[in-house]
Symmetry: C2
Subunit: 172 residues, 2 copies
């Protein structure tokens, strides 16, 4: 399957809602929050809190997307809020393509690190392995964060401080 | 000084803004975010994301306040977003009074834990000592989170799971 990347458009709202509904590891609350962020991005075109990158198929239909943005009160830290791939297109490297695009974008914006919070539940085991494989480090576990028995895991990738300084115009 | 606690009212907006401006450890971005949360609570009276408790003096003027709420996507985890005390009233136990009121309120709402994120900068050293003294545990440090050289520290207090089960109506 040939996959391309592009920005979020109004026409994607319904297809993304259907895609989110087909992802079994997301519960209704997850889906509602994911749609809330999509709607914010579509309604408030000048907002800078949430950036989206979509993966689309040959028919311009979304097969995955990611939502990320600058972490409030930080200088150069970014959060990956969502990365979702249509289950029918799993195992084709779409998640990796999206994550790479996020990393490139935030580095071009002076990002020093990307932070990903996820759950310790079995449903996310594969997701955690994916982040580790992509060079993310598990820096923290908060026991029972989501509910009794379900921890919050924080993964981080630090980008080159050398590259960061260069982009900031330092002579180093 | 005799201090009492009460809910947030519209009349507190200006005094709180002045109080925040007098706290040197808050930078303009911190203050703007603190005021944003105050305005959300005053404008959207049915919102449940941000709860406020104010400490007031004999003239009903705020000398401190705290903002906290349920952590999104969790069952029973709460975040302490702000705790601020008028610098002219420091050292009188107002922070401790506010924190105790928060802990009591969230436990009555089935809260299992209270999570506090703060900065490793020198300006917050006393704050960190305060949390440790109040039984909070430093569970995580994210290096360079706020900016190069300024880490994010996460403090947590877990409340009795026994008490939690009782409140949920368990026979245990």
């Amino acid at each position: 399957m040939k996959v391309e990347l592009r920005n979020l458009k109004a026409q994607d709202q319904m297809p993304l809602e259907r895609m989110l509904a087909s992802i079994l590891s997301f519960d209704p609350e997850d889906r509602a929050l994911a749609m809330e962020l999509i709607n914010i991005a579509l309604d408030q075109t000048d907002q800078k809190d949430y950036s989206f990158i979509l993966a689309i198929d040959e028919d311009d239909q979304p097969v995955g997307y990611t939502c990320y943005g600058p972490t409030p009160l930080t200088d150069g830290t970014f959060d990956l809020y969502w990365i979702a791939v249509d289950p029918r297109c799993a195992g084709q490297g779409i998640g990796a393509l999206l994550l790479k695009a996020v990393e490139e974008d935030i580095q071009s914006r002076g990002g020093r690190m990307l932070l990903i919070e996820t759950s310790s539940s079995l449903a996310y085991e594969q997701t955690c392995r994916f982040y580790l494989k992509k060079g993310y480090e598990l820096v923290e576990t908060i026991r029972d964060f989501y509910r009794q028995g379900e921890d919050r895991l924080t993964f981080i990738k630090y980008f080159s401080p050398d590259g960061y300084l260069k982009r900031k115009g330092s002579p180093l």
